[in-house]
Symmetry: C2
Amino acid sequence: MSNINDVAKEAGVSITTVSRYLNNSYPVNVNTKKAIQEAINKLNYKPNAIARGLVRKKTNTVGIIVPYITNMFFPEVVRGISDQCNAKGYDIILVNSNSDGFEEKKAVENFLERQVDGIVIIAPKIEKLPPSFYRKLNKTLPLVLVNKYFNDKDIVFIYNDERDGAFKATEYLLDLGHKNILFISGSENSYSSEVKIKGFNKALKSRGLLQKKNSEDNDNILISDYTSENTFKLIKSNMEHVRKHSAIFCANDLMAIGVIKALRSEGYEVPRDFSVMGFDDISISALYEPGISTVSQNITSLGKVSGDAIIKLISKEDVVRNQVLNTSLIIRDSCSRIKE
Amino acid sequence: MSNINDVAKEAGVSITTVSRYLNNSYPVNVNTKKAIQEAINKLNYKPNAIARGLVRKKTNTVGIIVPYITNMFFPEVVRGISDQCNAKGYDIILVNSNSDGFEEKKAVENFLERQVDGIVIIAPKIEKLPPSFYRKLNKTLPLVLVNKYFNDKDIVFIYNDERDGAFKATEYLLDLGHKNILFISGSENSYSSEVKIKGFNKALKSRGLLQKKNSEDNDNILISDYTSENTFKLIKSNMEHVRKHSAIFCANDLMAIGVIKALRSEGYEVPRDFSVMGFDDISISALYEPGISTVSQNITSLGKVSGDAIIKLISKEDVVRNQVLNTSLIIRDSCSRIKE
DNA sequence: TTGAAAGCGCTAACAA
DNA sequence: TTGTTAGCGCTTTCAA
């Protein structure tokens, strides 16, 4: 591997001039330019980004932390961020946290050592890591938090309006005449399930349908785990309870598929006997039969906007602190008007 | 941000001693250790990996190039590589090439400038970039090529035996009594489709069923584009031709779903009227109804083995040059014995 | 338009 | 067990 010295020697100039030519930072004589370029070609020289990063105190790198890269939702977001960053000359260091707060913290510290210019955390573990962690980090370097939110006016948050998505989906079901809607949550106390339940309840309340009880014995909510398999089992073993409802609203599409399969295995048809609504609009939902009505999370623009934001923060441009993206209802074939 | 000088001053020792403590490279007095650690804590010091990389000529980074991060197959591979690398203290720089040879080349050059310790290319564009490109790269630094192969005894290749997978799938169809099998290819002249067609033809030949023709008018092969939508259309507009066959073997699962949907919309049922076989075993295939019989590519171990290989290459350990992983037949419900 | 030299933060050879 | 010093490959003042 040749370095800038070799090039300078070969071209018969000083390394300063080579550097200037490389970076276009000062005028260089045309003939000198030619000589340098020839030397570069001859030696197959490539500037060392590490050395450059050391002196410039800028690595043109952004760190991304993702909970599960295998989760369909996230690669799409990573892709959006990565596209924006690459276009501006930044590279991506990607770390998979397994949705573990400790791993996330380790990744952040590693990023700091690596002198990344900015950090994007997708679905940060705000249930595990205290707000102070993120606040302090946000003071240290450009930071963007994606798809979660807590109250802080200095941090840049970019997320989908899941609450409104759940609200719209519930309204749609209500408009179809369903009065007893069962909600299948994906986890007990996560940010995402709480937000969706809020939207769900808001819609019920607006029609005077919200039962006034403490949340403990909410009997129109069942808790599953975001997987198709376990939701299948959950429905099968709670059929008696399920039968009291005419529509089932699931916190993600995978669970909606589990529900449909369970219902079928009990001899029911969707949407004939039950309406089933999903959330996320993963690619399966369009391919499945029946096509699953769901809430689209606008994943692509989530990534694009996040990538845009981190680049702007790094460039010290203004960025809106709190960007909430619209979700939209995707109507396919898994819901129908209630039979009287 | 404090540096090693600040720590040394604070602890009242030289920077060498701090460095030794940090790297555990030489014995340091217990009290000195304590003083240094206190200084580190007080100043919240983190070693600068860039500076360290410059002098050590090692960045603990591996570059990964992936054609489409949104393609379901690839995140799984990336995950495997990333797990292995992280466990050994390496970070991942990820670049999405859009399966474009030029982008891939740019990414490689960028990696070289960034002084990565090794490069893993998933599905390298060997149809566009000449073998010489990879051979030269392989002489420059540790390189692993995943899921493609060309004849070179110095490069480390890790790939699934797609040929054998296609062979086994075809044999299975043959064993069910199907004599007229239609193959849906995903592209015209790609490595992957050629390899699968070879396996397909080998099975036919072994039963004396291979038509002796030039490949131009192979009338048991239809060319699609790996998407569900276009395969749907292709089947619809070629129904007359399709009807001459009793089984359809698709080069990926998405196309299998497109085929099933098209068949349904023509009033047929799968597997009653046609048997349909996929390839890849993406997660939809288990959830779809009917469950799609397919060839599993062993994606997880593809990533794991690749990650392992690049680390070993970097550590100058021995690595098998040519690792082919077994594919396996996953039998679900989309194929049945032919009706007489 | 060009060059000499300092220095980015760190490691490692050499010396003590 | 510790410190001095050179230098990794580059950018950037300062001076010419």
